[in-house]
């Protein structure tokens, strides 16, 4: 598969994005029945005639799901329908108990909204076409070594997930993102995730599937206005994957178009190794034969109810950010870095645990960001908690460790060696504050570097740095450099 360099691709083409995000609601029961809506139960233990679609069964709408849908719509600045219906989306698949999905078609509960995102100082206005309610299907497991559908002799179905309430949020085509397209997509999904958490409607864990993203992208040759054919990429299971997948698709499509080829309108599958492969062809679109769901009656939320729900909305992320920036005293650039690094929550928690905003920012955006990147995980997934980070900073503030040693403490906590204090103890990382030991080390350094010592005596105080370095090495870093300098100057000055 040939790929064009990303920058070259962006010279020739303008990417146009389309993002479809599915949010699994955290209602106690399913969308249309009273089965528990919980992750991880034994197969087929959370099913009933309704979600199994048994002959004769009928759906009844979960009131809390409607409430969550409306709140999500409001938080996305959408209009809420005065009157809308569910519709049947008809197609056959073994994970579909009724072989139709009860969804919404031309009457979504929320529509015409928007989200304003800031990415690296640039604001992108993302239009939300609709947010609608639907139900999830069961889960398929494929036989055979690879677990891949193409290699399987047969498959096994667990219907626990069938009937879970979903909200599907669809953007209008997103133009003008240029080279930032992958980041904008990632920022958008990250924003939705923050929003859902703030609303308390979903635990939005991409690794568990309670937040899913299908990323659509097409390329418009520069100067043209007609949209190109797009691909839809599925199986992007993390924020990083969204960015990587879009980066890949843009490069792949650019290469294809540059060679005079055609982009196939199709669904592609993202592989974590770093590429996409084609799946179902969208050229012959399946005919879903939508019609209004006859087993359910229309949903007509009163304006009073909508306004009452509007009153329950939490602080919108943009407003929260402004407030935090003010409280923390960050510059715009510092705030941007924090947002882009996905560090707002952890910084907030670290500050709550007693650290200063600047120290929290420093740790999360430098040392910890580096480690997260290396491990390929999000900050929140690192094996160190915000309280522990605050504890590390407290150790530095108390003089127990210096910055360099603090990094080793962090390494120890991440490695599972215990709390910061335990790591300091176990590894013997405490800064030596015993002047006697330090003085002895200073003597050894002076003795080993007589010419440097001479220069210091002559008044070239800058040379002290070399001696400080020697002492620090001698002390295996477990010394306060400032105190060492004092001792050196006192001895030689």
């Amino acid at each position: 598969m040939s790929l064009m360099e990303f920058d070259d691709a962006l010279v020739a083409f303008d990417p146009v994005l389309g993002l479809e995000v599915h949010v699994e609601l955290n209602t106690a029961s399913k969308m249309f029945c009273g089965c528990a809506n919980a992750f991880g139960a034994e197969p087929n233990t959370q099913t009933c005639p309704v979600c199994l679609g048994l002959p004769g069964s009928l759906p009844v709408v979960n009131a809390r799901a409607i409430e969550s849908a409306i709140r999500i719509g409001l938080a996305l600045n959408c209009d809420i329908a005065q009157w809308c219906r569910f519709a049947r989306k008809n197609y056959f698949y073994p994970d579909m108990t009724k072989d139709f999905q009860t969804s919404q078609y031309d009457e979504p509960i929320a529509f015409d909204g928007f989200v304003d995102l800031e990415v690296d100082g640039e604001v992108f206005h993302i239009e939300i076409e609709r947010a609608h309610m639907e139900e999830d299907a069961g889960k398929l497991v494929h036989s055979g070594f690879t677990g891949r559908i193409g290699d399987a002799d047969y498959s096994l179905v667990d219907y626990n997930r069938a009937g879970t309430p979903l909200i599907e949020i669809v953007t209008r085509p997103i133009r003008g993102t240029g080279a930032k397209a992958p980041q904008v997509a990632k920022a958008y999904v990250s924003y939705l995730r923050d929003l859902m958490l703030a609303l308390g409607v979903s635990d939005v864990r991409m690794e568990q599937g309670s937040l899913r993203c299908d990323a659509n992208v097409s390329l418009m040759p520069k100067g043209e206005t007609e949209l190109g054919l797009r691909t839809e990429t599925k199986n992007v299971n993390s924020l990083r994957s969204i960015e990587r997948a879009l980066n890949y698709e843009i490069r792949r499509q650019a290469a294809l178009l540059a060679e005079g080829g055609r982009v196939h309108q199709e669904t592609r599958h993202w592989h974590e190794e770093g590429y996409t492969t084609p799946g179902r062809s969208k050229e012959q679109a399946e005919d879903y034969r939508y019609f209004p769901e006859p087993d359910l009656v229309p949903v007509a939320p009163s304006r009073e109810w909508v306004e009452q729900l509007r009153g329950t909305l939490p602080e919108v992320p943009a407003v929260r950010r402004a407030r935090l920036q003010e409280t923390w005293g960050f510059t715009d650039l510092e705030m941007q870095d924090a947002v882009n690094g996905g560090a707002l929550d952890v910084i907030e928690a670290t500050v709550a645990a007693g650290a200063t905003p600047q120290s929290a920012r420093k740790w999360w955006l430098t040392e910890l960001a580096r480690r997260a990147n290396e491990a390929g995980v999000e900050l929140a997934e690192l094996a160190i908690t915000p309280s522990q980070v605050a504890a590390v900073q407290a150790l530095v503030d108390a003089g127990t460790v210096n910055d360099k040693l603090a990094r080793q403490v962090i390494e120890g906590v991440l490695a599972g060696e215990g709390t910061p204090a335990e790591v300091v103890g176990a590894r013997g990382l405490a800064v030596v504050s015993d002047d006697g030991a330090l003085t002895a080390a200073v003597e050894r350094a002076i003795e080993a570097n007589p010419d440097v010592a001479e220069r210091i005596r002559e008044g070239k105080l800058a040379a002290a740095g070399a001696l400080i370095g020697a002492v620090m090495r001698d002390m295996r870093g477990q010394a306060d450099a400032a105190r060492v300098r004092e001792l050196i100057l006192a001895r030689l000055g």
């Binding site: 197969p43 009933c48 809390r64 599925k234 179902r280 229309p298």
Partner: protein
């Protein structure tokens, strides 16, 4: 509006019903006749007439978000043509990536 056997066969596939050549031959003209007679609805279904999807004007029928007991697994699987590991076993699926 004449339906060919090809049309009927395609509709059959869409509905996941394998129709024999005999059935196809039989069905196409029958369906044609039926469709012609029902097409009369367009005569009166003018733009100013709203559609009715429900006999009664009910709205907002909801249930509280309360968990109720599920079926025991044995009951769920009892009628299954094939099972394995407490899951429904289904024949291999073509074409799509999961």
């Amino acid at each position: 509006m004449a339906l060919t056997t090809g049309d009927v066969g395609r509709l059959g596939e869409l509905a996941r019903i394998r129709l024999t050549p005999d059935e196809l031959a039989h069905l196409a003209p029958q369906l044609d006749v039926i469709l012609q007679s029902v097409a009369t609805v367009t005569e009166v279904a003018t733009a100013d007439v709203p559609p009715t999807s429900h006999a009664l004007p009910l709205t907002n029928v909801f249930r509280d978000d309360v968990v109720t007991p599920s079926l025991p697994v044995a009951a769920v699987l009892a009628a299954a043509p094939a099972t394995e590991d407490n899951r429904f076993r289904v024949p291999r699926i073509l074409g799509e990536e999961a």
